[in-house]
Point group: C2
Chain length 227, copies 2
DNA sequence: CGAAAAATTGATCGACATCAATCTGTGTGG
DNA sequence: CCACACAGATTGATGTCGATCAATTTTTCG
């Protein structure tokens, strides 16, 4: 099975693009493609990008692959709070908290850009436009995410697939055919249900021709919102 | 029944405090209480503070009372996404989006402070400390909220009550005895369940001495997290 | 190939949804 | 003040979707 992770994406379709550019991390020429000078970081599948409570030192932008944001309760049980796709930014809570709020783990081989908070903080007090860009970024990140763990299981699984499709498409990736990037167990955790239930729901969508399924790979057929 | 809404709170325990102060909207004297010069706004129960898609012109800080943030789906059905308590800020998505992302409706008589975006934008590019405060505010707002609509109904209702108690206490209000401020129907909507189920869950907690209940009024007894 | 992890499938059970009736409190007009 | 209407809340009976338990099958990977 093809296990390639989605991406890499172009800098111009990244949420951190303006901030990076104004930090001088990428230079854009009219007649040539962009040039990166920022710090790239690669993470293997299953490895942790950062940990809840750990002193925050950087923002991260996902260039390739997907990650899960995990909330570990007082009792040690893990709940997947969100999935990050290429072009999205992780660690935005760092400015206010000084520590990361969650564990973030790569679902696949991931490549991301690391933007040190010290660099940002130094520059945004001098570069007016950078402050504007940073405020815009954080403002957009403060919008509550779509609640996937609501309604019937059918609605949750369908909603997750459509949400991923929309987000991938937004970044110029293939939103018609893509890998969920998660085990059934992880999907079940994210959607607050059980692995067997996820399996059956996906089979059902497949039987109804709403999607085609091959392991973690999904092809959209007739799946529509509010199905 | 006593239907007073929680608050008012002191400016110093408001999330917007630093931002307001640096905007010159409040002046703090050593030997006297703070003095407000910002714009207050009162909203009667059931009235809308703002609407999804409407051009955003202000941030709001809740001084007294509670509000619900409502997501209206494409099919017109309403889902309550969050509850705001005194001291919290609404409209933080406005910097990035230029329009509000949700409907926000007062659950009770509400008093809030209105902070025009134009004033903020004018000043943060000149006042370095204001940009810092604003970035800190938005950063904290970007942390995902606790998912209340997960787990058993018992866990959801208990989680909601404990969450409200914690947030009220954080602002110097009474977290031991307070009004839920919502009808059973609104609680059901927020927790993704049905009104009868909410009613039964609350009765059960009451019978088990975890809480005392009188209509919307709740007194905490032995209710603990992860119950 | 063989072992371990992931996924599927089936049978049964239970928590919550649904439908329906009743109760409680609150405001209104006679 | 009382009768009434209405919304909110509770209570009961029954149905159903998803949880749980258990057994295989499929995939992954050393």
């Amino acid at each position: 099975m093809n296990t390639r992770s989605p991406g890499p994406i172009a800098c111009r379709s990244c949420d951190l693009h303006d901030v990076c550019r104004l930090c001088g991390l990428i230079a854009i020429g009219e007649h040539r493609t962009m040039q990166r000078t920022g710090a790239l970081r690669t993470i293997r599948a299953g490895a942790r990008l950062y940990r809840a409570g750990e002193p925050a030192h950087s923002l991260f932008a996902v260039r390739q692959g997907m990650l899960k944001t995990v909330d570990v309760g007082t009792d040690g049980e893990e709940r997947i709070v969100a999935i990050s796709t290429p072009g999205e930014v992780l660690g935005t809570e760092a400015f206010g908290m000084r520590v990361y709020a969650h564990d973030v783990v790569a679902l696949q081989p991931v490549v991301c850009c690391e933007l040190p908070l010290s660099l940002l903080s130094d520059q945004y007090v001098r570069v007016r436009e950078l402050a504007v860009a940073l405020i815009s970024l954080l403002s957009r990140a403060s919008k509550p995410r779509i609640a996937l763990a609501r309604g019937s299981i059918r609605a949750r699984v369908g909603g997750l697939i459509l949400d991923l499709a929309r987000r991938l498409e937004q970044r110029g990736l293939d939103g018609q055919r893509f890998s969920l990037g998660m085990t059934r167990q992880e999907i079940a955790n994210l959607l607050d249900t059980r692995i067997e239930t996820v399996s059956r729901a996906i089979q059902k969508l497949s039987r109804e021709q709403a999607i085609d399924v091959d392991g973690q790979w999904v092809t959209l057929r007739s799946l529509r919102p509010a199905d």
